[in-house]
Amino acid sequence: MDMHSFLLVFWIGVAGLSLLLYVVLDGFDLGVGILSLVACDEDRRGLMMASLSSVWDANETWLVLLGGVLFGAFPPVYAALLQGLYIPVIVMLFALIMRGVAFEFRHASGRKWLWNFTFGLGSLGAAVSQGVILGALIQGWPTEAGNYVQSGWHWLTPFTLLTALGVVLGYALMGAGWLILKSTGEMQDRAYQRGFWLLMGTLATGVLVLALTPLQNAHIAARWTGSSALPYALAGGVAVFAALLTIWAYLKRHEYWPFLGTLLLFTASFTGLVGSLYPYAVMPGLTWNAAAASTGTQLFMLVGILPLIPIMLIYNGYQYLVFSGKVDGVAYGEDHSG
């Protein structure tokens, strides 16, 4: 394997890993925010947010890493995605701004309900825009010299609304799994109940998206049916297994398998779906290979970033360890404001 192909694979891998980590980590984080919208009182909302206080910021930085990696290693992909998806990206940023400041400001505010609501609304907005972006990526959009130049909103179709629904339900499902891990008593009971129905909803929407995807995108249809179908069948198999595992975990009211099973479900479906787009980064027409920055740049970035990735994973893991266990609103509140 020559240097060029190696770097290409490496950077697609890093971009994919950042995206996956972002989707699952900020996914449960946004999911807790979405669930907080339907929580019955402010104390409960406060506890939900307290369970995220040490992790939300680090989770969101995977998105920053993704942006940086795409910009550096695949500048045309970075440009085409952001230019072509201008409105959904901007809405996502607005939503992430809202929930980020809501998180920090609620500690200082007497009107907790206002910031809790802002947090929930921001979480929902971010999930909806990410779902729309996913749908738009599957559909692709027409470009001239890399730019979307037509008027009209190519990203707003029944299909992208369906993927948005799927992402909202899926994130909320992960959020429920996280809350099962972090809570006790009645709050945990609620999380089990909501989680189960969210699981059903996610699976139903997921199957529908899966069924409609080949109609949206001939390239993916060819991938799933041709001789190259084996890896996708494998990913599908893992997803089915993960779905069954999660259903079992919910029925058994297991403590951590609802969360871990959902993570596996997301990882498998994500890998299968995004993998199906390969070799395209943006459909139609922009391949990863054509978008790659010069070999020198990709090597330069490799030298700078590769040693950091294990370090980042280790200290993010350390942080989860330090703050593991059930969330205790009093202790967190005290720590923060005292």
Partner: protein
């Protein structure tokens, strides 16, 4: 017509989002080092007041940090959304540097922030101190990469243009481009300076109000001592940056100074203290000039030659000349104000010591510190206006014009995002000021006792 409109809208949006964003990281960087020093003093001396200081300032830090993080996010994506052509053109270097920023700095500071803010009872003191240090290092690394990327746009180096995009041939030369050392150090010290004068100004407020004056004399003293290093250093760095501008970006230098006619050899260029530069007329409407001073400022020699605007093609001249002229002067004036405040405070301490009663008798000095709080921010904003507007009409100086770098977007899309950002940022700013005011009024908790941290992170963490 429409393309120009969209470019102007994207410029306006970038100016709005960047000028708003920069307000927060400067305090994050400055305050993070203050927190490192104060925690180190606590660990070293065992004086519980330092612990209480750490907890008190950390509350301001977290309010400020939150806004900094969320307002930084749009900037990372704005190069793609609004400057897609620039991203394609310059991604080979610029994108790589932004990738470093994302990987190293942001992760470091966000990763350790949780432990720094919430981990007092959960990790040993040494680990906590390390986390505080990493947050400071991360924030500074962030500034290093971002300003490095920006300085490359000012003085591009290290590559060639192939097939319509920039290909790096020498990463070292691109990273250490001519402006980089000056740009990064000037900005980093500006952040320390803002932090220093915010800490000093807030402390002076409490001393002035006679609220826990002894407690706050400790932090005011630290601010004065830090200013002894910071304020002269910043003037030196500002002077160096200015010379670098005249050497590498003559159009920007001439625009900042309202300098129209290249001075003949052997005859020094005069410096306009105040003037009204008029682009239409091609000269200053009026000016108060001091002979030879511009040559001294720009070249450090009595009669060094300084290129005038009239020797630069009209289409290569920066716009908004009075804005550049006066932004620059305001920034410089504030830099000297800080220096004078430091000198007067040092004089006060030398004559009368650090007793709060003596300082309270000189309320004008304490008020001078109060004024310094907003002025630091004003200086930073003025500096960025000079730096960025002065680079126009280029996006990458001499290489890519601003009009060539903008995304092709419907104007309505950009109007939508500008409206959204304006609304969000107004709400953010108001909310921040309400909470900061509340923090200020509430004051420190002088009954806090240091936590009994577990000796190891993995013990007793479920409290």
């Amino acid at each position: 017509m429409s393309a120009t409109l969209v470019t102007d809208l994207s410029r306006a949006q970038f100016a709005l989002t960047a000028l708003f964003h920069i307000l927060w990281p400067v305090l994050t960087i400055g305050l993070s080092f203050f927190l490192v020093v104060i925690e180190a003093l606590w660990l070293k001396t065992g004086d519980v007041d330092y612990y209480r200081h750490a907890r008190f300032w950390a509350k301001l830090f977290v309010l400020n940090f939150g806004v900094g993080v969320v307002t930084g996010l749009p900037l990372e994506f704005e190069f793609g959304t609004n400057w897609a052509e620039f991203s394609r053109f310059a991604g080979d270097f610029f994108g790589a540097v932004l990738g470093f920023e994302g990987a190293m700095a942001f992760m470091l500071e966000a990763g350790f922030l949780g432990i720094m803010l919430l981990g007092w009872k959960r990790v040993p003191r040494g680990v906590h101190f390390f986390a505080t240090l990493m947050v400071a290092v991360g924030a500074s690394l962030s500034a290093l990469w971002i300003v490095m990327a920006n300085s490359w746009m000012q003085t591009p180096a290290g590559g060639t243009v192939v097939n319509g995009h920039f290909v790096v041939t020498d990463f070292w030369a691109a990273m250490f481009n001519p402006d980089m050392i000056w740009g990064v150090s000037h900005m980093w010290v500006a952040a320390l300076e803002v932090g220093c004068f915010v800490v000093g100004g807030v402390s002076a407020w409490y001393v002035l109000k006679n609220r826990n004056p002894a407690f706050f004399m400790k932090s005011l003293k630290m601010a004065v001592l830090a200013a002894v290093l910071i304020t002269p250093l910043q003037i030196f760095l500002g002077d160096g940056s200015g010379q670098s501008v005249f050497a590498y970006q003559p159009a920007k230098g001439a625009a900042i100074e309202g300098h129209w006619h290249t001075n003949p050899l052997g005859q020094g260029a005069p410096w306009a203290v105040v003037a009204w530069p008029d682009a239409e007329k091609g000269g200053n409407d009026w000016a108060l000039e001091v002979p030879n001073v511009l040559s001294v400022l720009a070249t450090h020699s009595w009669d060094g030659q300084v290129k005038g605007l009239l020797d630069i093609a009209p289409q290569d001249r920066p716009p908004a000349l009075p804005l550049l002229f006066y932004s620059f002067r305001l920034m410089v004036a504030i830099g000297f104000y800080f220096f004078a405040l430091m000198a007067l405070s040092l004089w006060q301490a030398w004559r009368h010591g650090w007793h709060e009663q003596d300082w309270q008798q000189r309320s004008w000095l304490l008020k001078g510190w109060l004024w310094a709080v907003p002025l630091g921010y004003v200086a930073v904003e003025m500096g960025w206006i000079v730096r960025e507007v002065g680079r126009q009409p280029w996006l990458i100086y001499g290489v890519l014009r601003t009009s060539e770098g903008a995304s092709k977007l419907p104007a309505s899309s950009v109007m939508f995002s500008i409206a959204g950002y304006s609304l969000l940022y107004i709400v953010l700013a108001i909310a921040f000021f309400i909470f900061a005011r509340r923090w200020l009024r509430k004051g420190p908790d002088l009954t806090l006792k240091p936590p009994q941290a577990p000796p190891h992170a993995w013990q007793d963490r479920r409290t």
